[in-house]
């Protein structure tokens, strides 16, 4: 039934807008594909996010497109998000999304995942948390870590822009030391919290720190993280998506900033537990990644 909710009844096909017909016919639904979905299909298929209301040139919008293109089974995926810039995009995604209270996202996702496993024992249902650094590393840190401790089978993706961007620029736990924002004029007093390391020590089987500068790398990490979460346990991705407005960049400078930080605060970090490594090796042999 998951894919049937996108099949238009023939009686109404003539009154449906083209974008909805395209969603049925040209989106890369897993059930219709022989090979894993990926960013390679982006140029000539229907995207699950067509329009959004973020600022022009926002790297977060690009990162979300990469994430959506790499979901292994979008028709059987539920995305849980939290308040922040990301929540301006989520209402536009053509998937099931749940907006939680600020910081609660991992608790909400845990409940959804458990109920789905009970309700659909024979179907793989993926639950993906997608929230900003304020919700993940700052106000919601407790809920994030507790879901790792409980070994929930969910993937947590943090779009880390190092600031509370859409409330005017307050510092978060993920802000770099010394950084000044409009609402943090004295500068951050302590170092950026290395959430990817916390995730590792808190029991995540797959933890990555990266920027969204390389679409293929983001898509690969998303796919691996979701597959590991499905079979082994919690996974975490920390992806740098700078707020170009808050750090004083123009719309065309986001990519450059991410590339710079590939060697800086977001230098590549990847932890894969032995069980996850073995599982991913098997997935590769089976052509799932």
């Amino acid at each position: 039934m998951a894919l049937d909710i996108y099949k238009i009844n023939p009686e109404f096909r003539d009154i449906m807008p083209q974008e909805i017909i395209d969603l049925e016919e040209k989106a890369t639904w897993s059930a219709k594909m022989d090979t894993p979905r990926g960013i390679k299909e982006l140029p000539d298929t229907k995207e699950l996010l067509e329009e959004h209301s973020l600022c022009a040139g926002c790297p977060e919008a690009a990162a979300l497109r990469y994430v959506l293109s790499a979901l292994p089974k979008p028709e059987d995926t539920i995305i849980v998000n939290s308040t922040g810039c990301t929540s301006l995009m989520f209402p536009h995604i053509a998937l099931h999304t749940v907006h939680s209270l600020f910081g609660n996202q991992n608790a909400v996702a845990s409940g959804i995942k458990r109920v789905l496993d009970w309700r659909f024992p024979d179907i793989e249902k993926d639950v993906v948390v997608l929230a900003g650094d304020g919700a993940t590393v700052d106000i919601g840190l407790d809920y994030t870590l507790q879901s790792f401790f409980r070994q929930e089978n969910i993937t947590t993706i943090c779009f880390d822009n190092e600031v509370y961007a859409n409330t005017g620029g307050q510092e978060s736990g993920a802000t770099a030391k010394g950084q000044v924002f409009k609402m943090a004029p004295l500068g951050k007093k302590f170092e950026k919290v290395p959430m990817w390391e916390l995730a590792t020590t808190s029991g995540c089987h797959y933890s990555v720190n990266m920027t969204a500068s390389a679409p293929k790398a983001v898509a690969k990490a998303v796919r691996e993280a979701i597959l590991v979460a499905r079979e082994i346990g919690p996974t975490f991705l920390n992806i740098y998506t700078p707020c170009i407005l808050e750090i004083g960049l123009s719309a065309n400078e986001g990519l450059g900033e991410m590339k710079d930080q590939d060697k800086g605060r977001f230098a590549s970090y990847k932890h894969v537990s032995p069980e996850a490594e073995e599982f991913l090796k098997k997935c590769k042999e089976e052509g799932r990644i």
């Binding site: 009844n9 009686e11 109404f12 329009e51 209402p91």
Partner: protein, 189 residues
């Protein structure tokens, strides 16, 4: 300035504030009166056949082929539109459209009044719209337009519509189509 509805400047544009609640099982609601289902069906058919630019707004529960009931209802709704000489404008999902909707050919529950104003719709049937969004849309339409709204609901009805019939499954739609044909012949339209 568009013509506004019965709740226009009220700070609480909801029928429940005026003591109107959903009808009991087996009954229907016409404005604030609980009536027999057949009486309501006759009035609904009359309104749709006599008001300008009568339109059916099918929602996701009937637009998509996700169950046998949805497929059956789709056929019946198409037939209903032909009998009522009504247009059809889809409420295909509930996402807010960015930057704006094309009000001539689509309706969105977050601002349904735009479509009703654009097409000068004076009577409309909402069918297959999930309860929570039907409630939102009907309140907005009630306050912002003079459209006679009709909720054909598979559950317990919607008090914010001018007319609501409840527990409408495929067999009930067949009954409505039969009545609508009779009313159409009586009116000679």
């Amino acid at each position: 300035m568009a013509n506004q509805g019965p709740a226009y400047y009220s700070p609480y544009p909801a029928a429940t504030y005026e003591g109107v609640i959903t009808p009991p099982e087996g009954k229907a609601l016409l404005l604030e009166d609980v009536v027999d289902e057949e009486t309501a069906m006759r009035e609904i058919a009359k309104q749709m056949l006599t008001k300008e630019n009568a339109t059916i707004f099918p929602g996701p529960q009937v637009l998509y082929a996700w169950s046998d009931e949805a497929k059956r209802k789709a056929t019946l709704i198409k037939e209903m539109a032909e009998v009522l000489n009504a247009n059809m404008i889809p409420m295909y999902d509930y996402r807010p459209k960015y930057p704006k909707i094309d009000a001539e050919i689509e309706i969105n529950p977050n601002h349904p009044n735009l479509t009703i104003w654009e097409n000068k719709i004076k009577a409309a049937i909402f069918i297959g719209v999930h309860c929570h969004y039907a409630n939102v849309a009907l309140k907005i339409v009630r306050a912002e337009t003079d459209c006679y709204t009709i909720a054909m609901c598979a559950l317990s009805g919607h008090e914010d519509a001018m007319a609501t019939i409840r527990d409408q499954h495929a067999s009930d739609l067949e009954k409505f189509i039969k009545i609508a044909k009779e009313v159409k012949s009586e009116l000679g339209v």
